[in-house]
């Protein structure tokens, strides 16, 4: 037996022995709770739905397996790519939930690994791995939107500290986060991309205030963050002063692939068919009784199949060491548009029961469907609007003239 097989055996045995029952996905299709509900996001303000969540986090963090491939010196597992793949495969096979999620692992962590100072890595990455710090992202500003580079939050050097003034919007869960990574303008006199710096600061710094934004769906996953004379030590710049645009582009890549990944979560069953079974029923031949609804469900299901095949194609190419092909440019755009279509069609399947907001006579799934439709409207706005995606593809992939 090779070393890797040995590793696989040990890993499987350890996972199976140590993972508490509630940290395993249910095997009954369709009964999985929403992803966010019982996962650990970490941080000082973390609350855990049950003690096993925290227990699992601590056990995994101890082995460095919250960030399996990061160096052990920074709190990671120090695993090779091959070993990390085995770990991930075994977790999937045993239906084990991830011990920790969030921007620390997926965004600021990888950025610090590449661009951070040794001091920054030692300080922040260890905290990330142990789930002791939760991060939020301060990119968008009230008048910037898709035109990220026109941000106006200003930072002026005063001795050893940057003094930051301005406002950020669309900071996901700023109210639950400990630190923010953000872009600020440090030189207003050069081309707008060139005067931007990437800063980290503690959300408890004086001058930081946070206000959740209520969405049309009734949820408030985002905040406005106001910065008034916030003092940030010089050593909390990442990647050098006025080099923030490079950091931003690196991170945006991470974010977009994360978003399309999020929509790739395999469905245990075809939700639209399940809904149609309940609200429309079958005809004597066992077909969904409304042929136009059936046609539209088939269309969206087949679109999803095409997207999944395209993602697989891209992954296989990556495995073979090929550069990402042109197909990878469409993921964010197509995955979000498709999700919009699917949540929108769900209401037509529900019919009048989709009118529910609250009160008597609507069940939880009905209320959720309506809010999901509303929430999904934002998919093609956040992380780069569909229009910006189309502009980018037209230019970079198709080479159409400006």
């Amino acid at each position: 037996m090779g070393e890797l097989e040995e590793f696989r055996k040990e890993t499987e045995a350890w996972l199976d022995a140590n993972c508490p029952p509630s940290m395993r996905w249910s095997e009954t299709p369709g009964t999985n709770p929403a992803l966010n509900d019982d996962l650990a996001w970490g941080g000082r303000k973390a609350t855990y739905p049950n003690p096993e969540v925290k227990q699992w986090l601590d056990l995994m963090a101890e082995k460095g397996w919250t960030a399996p491939t990061w160096p052990q010196a920074y709190g990671g597992g120090g695993l090779s790519k091959a070993e990390a793949k085995i770990l991930s495969e075994e977790m999937r096979r045993l239906r084990i939930k991830p011990p920790l999620v969030g921007f620390g692992l997926t965004m600021i962590g990888p950025l610090l690994l590449e661009y951070g100072s040794e001091e920054q890595k030692l300080r922040f990455l260890n905290e990330v791995c142990r789930g002791e710090i939760r991060w939020c992202q301060g990119y968008s500003e009230p008048d910037a939107g898709s035109d990220l580079a026109s941000l106006r939050t200003r930072a002026i050097l005063d001795g050893d500290e940057w003094v930051v003034n301005g406002q950020k919007v669309w900071t996901s869960y700023a109210d639950l986060s400990d630190w923010m990574f953000c872009l600020v303008r440090t030189d207003p006199d050069v081309r707008k991309q060139e005067g931007i710096t990437f800063l980290l600061f503690d959300m408890e710094s004086p001058g930081v205030s946070v206000k959740p934004i209520e969405l049309i769906s009734g949820y408030s996953p985002f905040c406005e963050t106001f910065l008034e004379d916030v003092r940030v030590p010089k050593d909390q710049v990442v990647g050098g002063v006025n080099n923030g645009w490079t950091m931003a582009k690196a991170l945006l890549g991470h974010e977009r692939s994360m978003i399309s990944e999020a929509f790739h979560e395999r469905e245990e069953s075809n939700q639209l068919v399940d809904l149609a079974d309940k609200y429309i029923g079958r005809d004597v031949h066992g077909r969904l009784a409304d042929a136009t609804i059936r046609d539209r469900i088939a269309q969206l299901t087949m679109n999803k199949a095409c997207l999944d095949l395209t993602l697989r194609r891209s992954k296989e190419a990556a495995k073979q060491g090929q550069q990402p092909g042109p197909e990878s440019s469409i993921f964010k755009y197509y995955a979000t548009e498709l999700n919009k279509d699917r949540t929108a069609l769900a209401l037509n399947v529900l019919g009048p029961q989709a009118l529910g907001w609250e009160g008597d006579g609507f069940d939880a799934a009905e209320l959720q469907a309506t809010r999901s439709w509303l929430r999904a409207r934002g998919n093609s706005i956040e992380g780069g609007t569909s229009e910006v995606q189309l502009n980018i593809i037209a230019k970079r992939v198709l080479g159409l003239p400006d």
Partner: protein
Amino acid sequence: MALVLNEDQQLFKNTAADFVKRESPVSRLRRLRDSGDQDGFSRELWGRMAELGWQSIIIPEAYGGLGMGYLDLACVLEECGRNLVPEPLISTLLLGANAVLLGGSEEQKSEILPRVAEGSMLLALAYHERGARYDCCRCETRAERGENGYTLQGEKVLVFDGMAADKLLVSARESGAANDRNGISLFLLDPNAAGVELSAQSTVDTRKAAVLRLSGVEVPAAALLGSSGEAGTVLSEVIDRATAGLCAEMLGSMQGASAMTLDYLKTREQFGVKIGSFQALKHRAVQMFVELELSRSAVLGACDAIDQGSEKTAELISVAKARCSDAAVLIAHEGIQMHGGIGMTDEHDIGFYAKRARACELTFGDAAYHRDRYARLQGF
């Protein structure tokens, strides 16, 4: 036939527009929602609408109304739709009063219609049952005939403005299977009668509805509206008229949402220019405009057909509802997308339009339903 408003109608419409603009900006709807108002509308404003004669428009002069037509009513509904005015014109007038007008006895009409016209009585039509989708004759609520009247048993949902209504009109089945058009009767019901339970529903568009549970409710024989077992036909026609009215309201709402979005395209800057100068957005804005113009034609066509008693009325109502449903959803979705992040916030009004658009789409049949109905009516 006329698809263009005459001078009187134009004047009437302008008056309605002024009133709505002054008295009911969208912020009023937001206030009603945020204050948790139980009715979801203002009885005081309802009274002032009555002073303007709005509740009288389609009520015949014999019953204290103005005896005007649906083209006239559409003028008012369109203006109400423009600012998402929540007062219960659809529920009280188009559903409730129409059921009395089309199905009631002379006595019942004389008793109820004048009070609706003067704004002193609110009605709600309880016909829809869970699982019925868009079939107004799907009715499992039972009416058992007894010696002195009827006993009602069953459950209705999405009774629009049912909590606020002074009187309920309830459909119940005397005979036949659940989907039969025949065998359904309509009953006038006091919401405070024994065995009547109403519980509140809030809909996505911040309107109010009710679940109505009937547990052995006794009503006198006089509570029967019109003839026994023949309410299926009445209901179908009532829903058709209400659909035409709802389309007129949707037309107004679409214009409100379009105007808001166009305004944003003309003022919002990105990459140093107005976003309305981006050709892709321009072309999409024109699509919205095209849909709006076609919707206007369809609404006028449907209302004119009702007024003329055309034999094509049902087809034209389906044309209008299919068109308005698709157009409203398009304009709602594009409205949010073109507003970008701000369009996703509850703080911005465009979300109210989007929610109302889909609530209207899913009321009285969505576009696919009406395409199917149209094909059936046209014989294919």
